[in-house]
Symmetry: C2
Subunit: 399 residues, 2 copies
């Protein structure tokens, strides 16, 4: 008899995927260039040439047995050392290769980090709005998700609610800045307050609460700013990173967990993640991809398009009277829908071939997510359509 739990999961379709599939289908009818598909967070810029060139060079010059041979269980040492050196240089940290665990993107990183610092039944605290795939990562580990309601003013952390939710059963807190779906960047003050709260509660409980920091958008920050490096604010931090966005290689499934050297059990956590990988039969990411990443981990694709797109959309949403917080990074923006039911709102947008995603299951009911990882020309072409949609469907809105 097959596993009923996984069978039942099949009926819980991911709304992002449903809308993305709708957009693809509609594209076949009217031409995909005529569908303004803001559903999927799939990077829209090519990988840097250095990644392509490095991959080709490795294939042309390295012995196939070295290049494609088994990696050690905890990853290729030279890859881990290069990642550590890059983080140390950029963020003034003290990682060694032993603190770096290569993973299948940020998804793999988060799933491993949760398993390492929780036991079944523990709670993992997340702050709305949050990426809904956190549910399967946390549920899959046997821990339970506990959601702190959003601060709808600015989508920083709602600290009153956080303090109340941070009970003794919470083993780890999972944050994501710059944030999917809101685009918000946590400022230094937010991180300092969070660290103070975690330190206070850890002392109170007599054990450390771990901080899992999901940072795939770390390199997509606007207005010339840089994202504060979360692990600098709180010692017991596991940094979960993906090169999907910075190198624009989401299909290659490459990322890492970086265990803060001053974290409790810093030396055991990476070997423990190796054991976790054994049990799920994953082992390492592709050796070729690991080696290509190690040589290009300081490079990025041309990420400037996202800021251009953000400004175009933010200005248009403001002009049309939307309640919307200006993103500090990512390629998302999350305005409030013009009626209470954001699903209805998004359905009406579909009539204009505009595909937005209701943010209800991101913990932001009544809001919708706009993924603007499209070329700027298409974003420009979408603006009159968005105006038409809003003016026709919501003639009484504040525009």
């Amino acid at each position: 008899m097959i596993n009923q739990e996984y069978l039942n999961m099949l009926s819980n379709k991911n709304i992002i995927r449903i809308l993305s599939e709708y957009a693809t289908g509609r594209g076949k009818e009217i031409g995909y260039e005529n569908v303004f598909d803001f559903s999927l967070g799939n990077p829209s810029v090519p990988a840097p040439q250095s990644f392509t060139d490095t991959s080709i060079r490795l294939l042309q010059t390295k012995s196939p047995m070295t290049l494609h041979g088994y990696s050690p269980t905890l990853g290729i040492p030279e890859v881990k050392e290069k990642v550590a050196a890059s983080l140390n240089r950029r963020f003034d940290m003290k990682y060694t290769g032993n603190h770096i665990f290569p993973t299948s993107g940020a998804a793999g990183a988060i799933a491993h980090a949760i398993r390492a610092v929780t036991k079944p039944g523990d709670e993992v605290l997340v702050f709305a709005p949050y990426f809904p795939e956190y549910n399967p990562y946390i549920n899959g580990s046997g821990a339970k998700i506990k959601v702190v309601p959003a601060d709808f003013e600015n989508f920083q952390i709602n600290f009153d609610a956080a303090e109340e939710a941070l009970t003794e059963n919470v083993a780890a807190v999972l944050i994501n800045s710059p944030n999917n779906p809101s685009g918000i960047l946590y400022g230094e003050d937010t991180l300092e307050k969070l660290a103070a709260l975690l330190t206070k509660k850890s002392e109170q409980f007599g054990h450390n609460v771990f901080l899992i920091s999901d940072e795939p958008y770390r390199e997509i920050v606007f207005d010339g700013k840089e994202a504060p490096y979360v692990a600098k604010y709180y010692p017991h931090t596991l940094t979960c990173y993906s090169f999907s966005k910075s190198l624009s290689v989401p299909g290659e499934r490459i990322g890492y967990v970086a265990v803060n050297p001053v974290c409790e059990h810093a030396e055991e956590l990476v070997p423990m993640m190796g054991q976790i990988s054994r049990g799920i039969g994953h082992n390492c990411p592709s050796s070729l991809i690991m080696l290509a990443m190690a040589e290009t981990c300081d490079d990025t694709a041309d990420l400037s398009v996202y800021e251009t797109n953000m400004n175009l959309l933010y200005d248009t949403f403001k002009e049309l009277g939307f309640t919307v917080v200006r993103p500090g990074g990512t390629f998302y923006i999350m305005p409030k829908a013009l009626e209470e039911d954001s699903v209805e709102f998004c359905k009406k947008a579909l009539k204009y071939d505009i595909v937005f995603v209701p943010a209800d299951n991101f913990g932001a009911p009544g809001y919708f997510r706009v993924a603007y990882c499209l070329d700027t020309d298409k974003v420009r072409r979408s603006l009159p359509r968005i105006r038409e949609f809003v003016r026709k469907e919501y003639p009484n809105a504040g525009h």
Copy 2:
């Protein structure tokens, strides 16, 4: 507080790894060419040129956004279709792309297959001798391993013991032919008897017992034979494959589960494995590697070296009076040690810089595994050393 279970796993060191690390260390002292390291099953032949050329061509000609973009949750359709077509052509099967789930090697395939067809508490039956990594794959799913003792005559299946062990709590049976560690190939008669037993028990229990067939050595078969294709013998079969050996790319972590189209729930099992992947944050293998594999999945590295090595070692072991069954495939052979304690036997071999692995935790106490994935020159050079070791340490053995 970190997860104690994974922490405790750190002290259960893998004996293969320990011996392999010993060999590497000893190699630094006396030159690795002077250490006869038969510990690790790491392929010793380069990937076929077609794999390298295809990878380079994809990088040079495909749009980086297509090549490195997110794969659909269940894998890239054209990759799945090519794998299905290859299996259909070679083994007269009727797979479609929908029956193929790309995985991180056979390890990922087995871990997903077990989760799909068992629930926590169910038993998974394995036949000694067996690959000890089955323990973490099965334990990690919440199911329990149940080991059927070996038939030491020929290392085919001990059917009397199998019939006794195959109780109602057994949800799946996991086999591995050609076999690691014994090198034995299950013949048609073994597979027919196994299918009959599974069919009888399934009827008796009122539910189907699934067969998980671990086949990474399917292409390494000796004496001009071919491995019988297991899924042809029993409908409810999930075939777990890895290209690690056939394409000699173990570091690339690429394989698949193929769900027999006549299997119960054949259409749901692949989507369920997609859900399992979500929970462990794995998603798909590397998109570049999937696409390169799809175009080269009918090719193999030059695998003939393994048969040459096997014959050299088999003849030497026979000459020296060992009890040993001649392998039908793989790059392993598993003779009986010349004293009851195989660990002591392997320790004595180390004095001669010969690294064998005790097979006790493969379910074959008193035996030892010899992984002959070395170049043939080194195997030839090892033979006088093996003779010296045996004649000096076991002067009364039957040589």
